[in-house]
Symmetry: C2
Subunit: 192 residues, 2 copies
Amino acid sequence: MAGGRPRAFDADAALDRALEVFWRQGYEGTSLSDLTTALGINRPSLYAAFGNKDELFAKALNRYISGPGACASVALEAPTTREVVERMVDCAIELTAGTDTPSGCLTVNSVHACGPNSASARDAALAYRKAGEAALRRRFEQASDLPEGYEPGTLARLVHTITDGIAVQAASGRTRDELRQVADLALNALLP
Amino acid sequence: MAGGRPRAFDADAALDRALEVFWRQGYEGTSLSDLTTALGINRPSLYAAFGNKDELFAKALNRYISGPGACASVALEAPTTREVVERMVDCAIELTAGTDTPSGCLTVNSVHACGPNSASARDAALAYRKAGEAALRRRFEQASDLPEGYEPGTLARLVHTITDGIAVQAASGRTRDELRQVADLALNALLP
DNA sequence: CCAGTTGTGTACCGATCGGTATGAAACTAG
DNA sequence: CTAGTTTCATACCGATCGGTACACAACTGG
């Protein structure tokens, strides 16, 4: 049992770069050549380290959720309903309209990859989205300060709808400050 | 001056089918082979009638805006601010979660086509989106019943954000009835 | 009939797609 | 050193991509 030739690149850093490419160009808009040039490695190394394109996307999506997108699950820990929603929306704005990262949301983008060869990427994104919304609903179900007439499931869906909308707006070029105004208006109307 | 061989297909009906394919699969997810089989014509006929893939997409997008998406501009004619928003949101739900048409919104989908060869499709979608939002803002600017503290531009952006979110939710599989509940909650909070 | 024009069908173009075979290079264990 | 193992680099695979050349069919005006 010997350990062969050491790999000449940092797999973690490479995955980060893959995430950035998928985030900017989407699953369908990213080719293997785009990936190999961005990662600075050649094709066989990519396949040996990450599997095929679908698996690499799945790993990048994983990193997206647990890295820059982690604020969404952290937001659930806020004490009040209002603060949960507030942090959730703030997270969406920073994530999708931040200046250091591509515009838009990777999961929202991937939902719209509906070509015949994109089913696996789309399904992976849908699974994360579904789980995220279920967690938000559970958080509201356990809340004691939910305003009268607000159903947990419906509120969760509305918040998710708004953060999705923010992602689309960010992908359309809307700036962070513009989205903050929109978010303030929505928040003050929804949970005054 | 003679009129050559008559074309063997209905160009209008073909364009409708092209729209449906782009709507369901997105610009990047739709190949020329998908189009020719869906339209029932062969490649040279498609190119002679509609130009290249980009031009066909532009024409399909045009038809989308002036056909099923026309409810968005009709909504602006409603008498009150509340009704404008109400119809706008209803339009988004019917358009993106209707049972006779593909799920999701073509312009929202196309914004997420950000591969290197999709710039023209993306730009066309962005132009329509920008124009639609400007029209909504102008409608609110001329409104006399705008609630106090509501800025026309911000409200227009929020409504657009919500309709975008609805489109994403519809593309994710959410049903029309679920979206109606979400829309009701949002509307009652925003314009009680 | 003929000439001119326009659409149709087939068969093809170079480029790129995702994915891989192959052999040399770089390491570890003995 | 050698044997075994893993990675790297090149070069390639069939399939599909968007787009087109070309010959023939179907029409109109004379």
